[in-house]
């Protein structure tokens, strides 16, 4: 057995420990520490594994890129975990099971990002989705959370059904469920081409649902609003990261760009997501709904990466640069988003935009962090979000994807409106000055905010080390 499996085993071990402990005595702090330690150990092992050689097994593939993505995943989970304790204390439910489901979700995500086989991919997907249902409907008394849980259950089942159907058709054609066999052109064309295209569309439908891309986006705003905050943070980062990585890997390994209709579908989905996401976000007064729609738009931008075809004659149009673009964008967007969520966790009373009024004058540090995060989401220079957008624009210009670029410009311009609205809400004079007086601002939150600022602004101004690291990985 290879070293590569160890981080996942640690997660399994951690969740088993919590289970065993539940049988004897319930203690919140113990579950917190167990999950934290296993995450930390997994994170450091993953860091250590960065330099290992690549390994392809029947079910999984491990190389520099998957290790990096797993590392990114662990870092995001870790950042979310560090906020979870105080937040769970405010809930009236049993607390220990949350950590269990939390670890299982992480495990599902890690399995998905390094899967090399439809079986392992599906296992990871189901592990993650089923744990999510528990996480979403965690607060039993909350009607909205229950509704969101049911919604996710049904839609997730439908999405899985679509993916299974697509997998079955592909199996009929290729005779194998391994991702690496998707590439081989079979000697006998068993099925007509349109069935394969159909299968691809089925798989896309399932994954687009997880990524909440238009037209499979209708669930996301209700879910973001209804689910507990930390679950929302996981849903927005972990599940989308895993799903997008699988989508990208399938697209590359199967060379699905060869089908014109698939390219058309991606272009249409991408443009539609940019517009629908940005325009719907404009009308939101609820912060979480706004973040939900903005995430639709961001994954719309990211879909451009799938259309980059290798053509070494043009500047920046190598496989390596496309991978770099994808990785940089994911790093930038996910860290920014985790930052936004951790600020929201620190402000438990804030639900609507107007609740933010006066934050800037009472808690300037939190407000400045949130302002910079919003600017990063909007893609203003000197933030990580801008560098990501710059990568994307450079790559797209090399491929001359003018239509998508025009949509990107229009979408970002519309997007500015609502990011500015959030900033504006913070600098407005408050109706009552006491709203933020009882906020806790302990050292934990402060250091977390400083870390986020360091990531988003530090790497925004001096992206060299990050981009060189990503360049090494992509090669």
């Amino acid at each position: 057995m290879s070293f590569y499996y160890i981080p996942s085993f640690i997660l399994v071990l951690g969740s088993l420990m919590i289970l065993i402990q539940l049988c004897f005595k319930r203690r919140h702090s113990f579950a917190y520490l167990t999950s934290g330690l296993s995450l930390l150990a997994a994170l450091f092992l993953q860091l250590y594994l960065q330099k290992n050689e690549s390994l392809i097994e029947p079910l999984f593939t491990f190389n520099a890129q998957t290790s990096f993505i797993s590392l990114l995943l662990f870092m995001i989970i870790g950042l979310i975990w560090s906020q979870i304790y105080h937040w769970l204390e405010t809930l009236s439910e049993q607390k220990e099971e949350y950590y269990l489901l939390f670890l299982l979700t992480a495990l599902g995500g890690v399995i998905m990002v390094s899967s090399n086989h439809f079986a392992s991919f599906f296992m990871g997907l189901e592990l993650m989705s089923l744990s999510f249902i528990g996480l979403i409907a965690y607060c039993g008394h909350d009607q909205k959370a229950q509704e969101a849980g049911i919604k996710y259950l049904i839609l997730s089942a439908i999405a899985s059904a679509f993916i299974l159907m697509g997998t079955a058709i592909l199996y009929l054609q290729f005779g194998s469920l391994s991702f690496s066999n998707l590439m081989q052109t079979p000697s006998i064309q068993v099925l007509p081409q349109w069935t394969i295209v159909c299968a691809i569309i089925f798989i896309f439908t399932g994954l687009f649902f997880k990524l909440s891309l238009v037209p499979c986006h209708l669930w996301i705003a209700d879910l973001f609003e209804g689910a507990p905050l930390v679950t929302t943070a996981l849903l927005a980062t972990l599940s989308k990261l895993a799903a997008f990585i699988v989508l990208w890997r399938l697209m590359n390994l199967g060379q699905w760009q060869q089908y014109q209709i698939i390219i058309d579908i991606i272009v249409i989905t991408s443009i539609a997501s940019m517009f629908v996401g940005n325009v719907l976000a404009l009308f939101q007064k609820n912060l979480l709904r706004l973040v939900a729609y903005s995430s639709i738009a961001h994954f719309g931008y990211l879909l451009i990466v799938l259309l980059l075809i290798n053509n070494d004659k043009v500047l920046f149009s190598t496989q390596s640069f496309n991978t770099q673009t994808l990785l940089f964008y994911l790093v930038a967007y996910l860290f920014t988003l985790v930052g936004v969520f951790s600020i929201l966790i620190q402000l438990p009373k804030v639900k609507m935009l107007d609740d933010l009024n006066g934050l800037f004058w009472h808690k300037p540090f939190i407000a400045i962090t949130l302002i910079l995060l919003m600017l990063s989401l909007a893609g203003i220079p000197l933030t990580l979000g801008f560098m990501a957008k710059f990568y994307l624009v450079m790559a797209a210009i090399s491929q001359q994807l003018w239509l998508l670029l025009a949509a990107l410009v229009l979408g970002s311009t519309v997007g500015l409106f609502y990011y500015l609205k959030v900033i504006l809400a913070m600098v407005k004079r408050p109706k009552n000055d006491i709203a933020f007086n009882n906020l806790l601002s302990d050292g934990n939150n402060l250091s977390l905010n400083i870390l986020i600022l360091f990531l988003v602004i530090g790497f925004g101004i001096f992206p060299t080390s990050l981009s060189q690291f990503i360049q090494q990985i992509a090669n």
Binding site: L315, L375, I397, S412
Partner: protein, 498 residues
């Protein structure tokens, strides 16, 4: 390091100003003043060279040139350089920074620390725009300077400030994104044609790109600059932003932020895309002329003093556009002169409007009148700057407009005839402004406590008068300073005689 120091002084000054608010609400403005004065120190040696040995700067275009590496993966450098053109505009920026500070001194009483932080950071951003020679760095400054300006308008502005601030930000950001696309495309095409990946202006300049894409890239850059200038279809953010901004922000907007548009065209569009800008020229001249006439006519119908001055800016900046695309050294020098003179005269008008509003709490032309009898000193300054704005000979604005018309008449006589009518229209709205505000019946509330200009105010205004008169009577040093930069534009020798 001189240029980097110049850039960092206002940044650090702003931080200090914000921090110092904790101790005393009056401290931030003093720190802002000190840091603005410190900004002159790095400029001392280039200014000294120019004034005392005339020949040194004629040899090479760049007075100071400081390349550093920044993001090696894209070969992006932190490359700052200064030539005569940018030196002039930086001097203008720093002067107008002082003027803005003077007008904010008593006007801003709330959240002073954050105000001066934003004021200084805007100035730092503008200085960065004028100094950046790496295109990526230029873009960064171009976008980043908007953020503090956004806060200036949206926090300290007047009644409709949020709308105006958002509109300002969105318009300029949309232009900026277009510029980002063009910039990346420019670098991509340059790489294809030369095999050299660079964002450096000086290197890009050596091999101007050609082909179909060049036209579209040039158009992208031009539109981004037109938004900022602002030229006609993209001007609608300006009246709102000016009207709602506090006086200090209006001064910065009118005096330096608009100039970045003109600067961008002269520095980037014309030399980087010589062929494309020849194709663009007729339509740009047309937009310029329409802007001149439209701005003047809109200024004439305004009843809000600030809107009137704002529309007059649209009209005046039309002249800059006209001068830039006339491909002629006279017109170009006129355009630079217009940027300087308009910067000073318009910001002086905004300062005056700010003073009137501070005293009477209205900017409505119909509610003002007969100020001369009550505020003779202020009204005299108003008369002076009103007349400057209509282009009275002997003042900087006249020299500028005359040169622009002279230069463009050579290329496009018919358009220039229409443009010249802008001078008459300017006279109409300027005189209307003077007449309705300072003469006529006394309409304002009869409050004997309203005092005339105090020492700080008239020193500010008087020094602006002197600069305008100097620009008008002895403009030659300024022409000499920019001559090298402007003649380096490659097309000028080939076109100058035709």
């Amino acid at each position: 390091m001189t240029l980097f120091i110049l850039l960092f002084i206002p940044l650090i000054g702003g931080m200090l100003a914000w921090y110092s608010e904790k101790f005393n609400a009056n401290l931030p403005k003093k720190i802002a003043l000190v840091s603005l004065l410190c900004c002159w120190l790095p400029l001392f040696s280039p200014l000294n060279n120019i004034i005392f040995n005339d020949n040194s700067f004629a040899l090479s275009q760049w007075l100071l040139n400081e390349p550093h590496s920044w993001i090696p993966i894209f070969n992006i450098g932190a490359h700052l350089a200064m030539d005569g053109l940018s030196l002039l505009l930086i001097v203008l920026t720093l002067l107008m920074g002082l003027v803005a500070l003077s007008s904010a001194w008593h006007e801003i009483t709330k959240r002073t620390g954050f105000f001066y932080l934003n004021l200084l950071w805007t100035l730092a951003g503008v200085i960065g725009v004028f100094l950046a020679i790496d295109l990526f760095l230029f873009f960064v400054f171009w976008e980043v300077m908007l953020v503090p300006m956004y806060f200036l308008i949206s926090i300290w502005g007047y009644e409709n400030r949020h709308y105006a601030a958002i509109k300002f930000f969105i318009f300029t950001q949309a232009g900026g994104l277009l510029m980002l696309l063009s910039l990346c495309a420019l670098v991509g095409v340059h790489f294809q044609q030369t095999g050299l990946l660079t964002f450096d202006y000086i290197i890009l300049l050596q091999n101007p790109i050609s082909g179909d894409l060049a036209f579209w890239i040039a158009l992208g850059f031009t539109i981004a600059f037109l938004v900022k200038l602002p030229a006609l279809p993209f001007h609608s953010w300006l009246p709102d932003a000016h009207t709602q901004a506090p006086t200090a922000a209006s001064v910065i907007l009118a005096a330096v932020l608009l100039k970045t548009g003109g600067y961008g065209i002269i520095r980037f569009v014309l030399p980087l895309f010589p062929d494309a800008s020849l194709i663009l020229a007729p339509s740009m001249m047309l937009i310029g002329v329409i802007g001149i006439i439209y701005g003047a006519m809109m200024a004439f119908v305004q009843t809000d003093l600030k809107r009137l001055v704002a529309y007059s800016s649209v009209s005046h900046m039309g002249f800059v556009l006209l001068g830039c695309f006339a491909f002629n050294i006279y017109a170009l020098q006129g355009a630079v002169m217009q940027m300087l003179a308009h910067g000073i005269s318009t910001s002086a008008l905004f300062v005056l409007v700010g003073m009137i509003q501070h005293r009477y709490h209205t900017r409505d032309l119909n509610k003002l009148g007969g100020l001369w009898s009550k505020l003779p000193k202020l009204s005299a300054f108003g008369l002076f700057f009103g007349i400057a704005s209509l282009g009275m000979p002997g003042l900087g604005n006249f020299v500028a407009e005359f040169l622009i018309l002279l230069g463009s008449f050579e290329q496009y006589p018919k358009l220039t005839i229409f443009a010249a009518s802008g001078l008459i229209l300017a006279a109409i709205y300027s005189l209307l402004l003077i007449y309705k505000t300072f003469f006529g019946q006394i309409k304002g509330p009869h409050d004997s406590k309203i005092s005339d200009t105090n020492t700080k105010e008239w020193v500010t205004l008087l020094s602006m008068c002197f600069i305008l008169i100097y620009l008008g009577l002895h403009p030659q040093p300024f022409f000499d300073l920019t001559y090298t930069s402007l003649t380096n534009l490659t097309f000028i020798p080939s076109n100058i005689g035709s």
